[in-house]
């Protein structure tokens, strides 16, 4: 039987008699708190699981990669084209003493789509593997061989520009020097993934939501 028929149509007012019958007693405080906290925790659990997947993949690759990056950064002053170095080096706008700065050797390893998809995490891992290979090659390359690195630097321009253009408050950003970059989606938000080098040559990985500047530490 269709819904719209000749049934008498009630006026658009609440039926107080039915309303009284439908009344439900309020939840007790304990139940209410349990329901709310469980709901809040559920998303935390989902996010943690998602971050762990990303972090596990990134960490495995970058524990090895960090050593290579440090080697290139420390002894590779003559292996990076100076024009690219000049373009990238320096702190983000509004940067204070604790702000994010960008290494002259920063590399954009590409876009990896939705990191909730395991295959994309694998792609990210392979990309960092690839960067390791390039870094190793550059460490032993002649100046002529290093012309190719100018192309890498050029590719990273766009992402560096995006990162600078975010306009995030310095206090919202982690501290360190960006030595690697990637773009992706995380939890439905576009993110820039940064490989941060801090004092003591330690590395950490963060996803910065480009629409909200929310930072997720990945490792």
């Amino acid at each position: 039987m269709p819904d719209d028929d000749t049934t008498p149509q009630p006026p658009d007012v609440r039926d107080e008699r039915v309303a009284a019958l439908l009344t439900v007693e309020p939840l007790d405080d304990v139940t209410r708190r349990r329901l709310v906290s469980t709901a809040i925790r559920s998303t935390g659990t989902a996010r943690r699981a998602r971050r762990l997947i990303v972090a596990a993949a990134v960490v495995v690759v970058l524990v090895v990669g960090a050593g290579v990056v440090v080697a290139v950064g420390g002894g590779g002053g003559s292996t990076t084209p100076s024009a690219a170095r000049d373009k990238h080096a320096g702190a983000l706008p509004e940067a204070g003493p604790t702000a994010l700065s960008i290494s002259a050797d920063v590399r954009d390893v590409g876009d990896f789509g939705d990191l909730d998809v395991v295959a994309n995490v694998d792609r990210l891992r392979r990309a960092f593997d690839s960067v390791q290979g390039l870094s190793k090659a550059s460490a032993s390359a002649t100046p002529a061989d290093n012309n190719g690195l100018a192309g890498d630097a050029a590719r990273s321009d766009a992402l560096v520009t995006r990162l600078r253009a975010l306009g995030c408050s310095p206090s919202a950003l982690p501290t360190g020097t960006v030595v690697g970059l990637a773009s992706a989606m995380l939890g439905g938000h576009p993110v820039i993934i940064v490989d941060l080098q801090s004092s003591g040559d330690t590395h950490s990985f963060h996803a910065i939501e480009t629409d909200t500047c929310t930072v997720h530490r990945l490792s």
Binding site: D4, R17, T38, S42, T214
Partner: protein, 186 residues
């Protein structure tokens, strides 16, 4: 209240966990009441309440503020309740309702009425039940219900009319809508 909701929802959608928690706490009774009246079984209604809250938490980032937060909340909650209902629809619904109080029982008439309404709601079609609950419990107007259920307003009106009539019959009362129609058209 709605302005506060909008601000809290805006903050929650940007990752403010405290704002999200405050929103859930503020609307917990409403979410539960809606679930409780869509789902006749008390425990299943609590499960649906939990699922609805989780859906809110997971979906709040997609809330764009174009509609009132409560409209979005009703939609999310109604969908969660219906999902829960369908998951558990093998359960014989009225069977595990509290027994009717015996004649002369010390339980008061209000409790008996609650038992009646549980059984009566369980007995009417789900579509009618949802429409009546949104109108008479949640006090949404037809247009809002149409938005929540993504239905034409005429369909909403029809379902409410039939739902109320069915409830009145099951509860042993004259159809309240009939009386009002007579008055309205006078």
């Amino acid at each position: 209240m709605r302005d506060d909701d909008a601000e809290l929802a805006r903050r929650a959608s940007r990752g403010d966990r405290a704002a999200l928690e405050q929103l859930l706490d503020r609307h917990a009774d409403l979410i539960h009441a809606l679930c409780r009246r869509i789902i006749p079984h008390r425990d299943d209604a609590l499960d649906a309440t939990q699922e609805a809250m989780i859906a809110v938490v997971r979906g709040i980032r997609r809330f764009d503020g174009r509609s009132a937060f409560t409209t979005w909340l009703y939609r999310v909650t109604t969908n969660a309740a219906l999902d829960e209902l369908r998951r558990k629809n093998r359960r014989p619904v009225p069977a595990d309702l509290p027994d009717r109080p015996a004649i002369g029982s010390p339980l008061d008439a209000q409790v008996e009425a609650r038992v009646d309404i549980d059984a009566a709601l369980a007995a009417i079609p789900e579509d009618f039940r949802v429409a009546v609950v949104l109108r008479d419990l949640c006090d949404l107007d037809y247009a809002e219900i149409a938005t929540v259920l993504d239905l034409p307003a005429g369909t909403v009106r029809s379902r409410i009319s039939r739902g109320r009539a069915a409830l009145a019959e099951l509860l042993g009362n004259p159809d309240p809508t009939e009386e009002r129609h007579t008055t309205d058209h006078a």
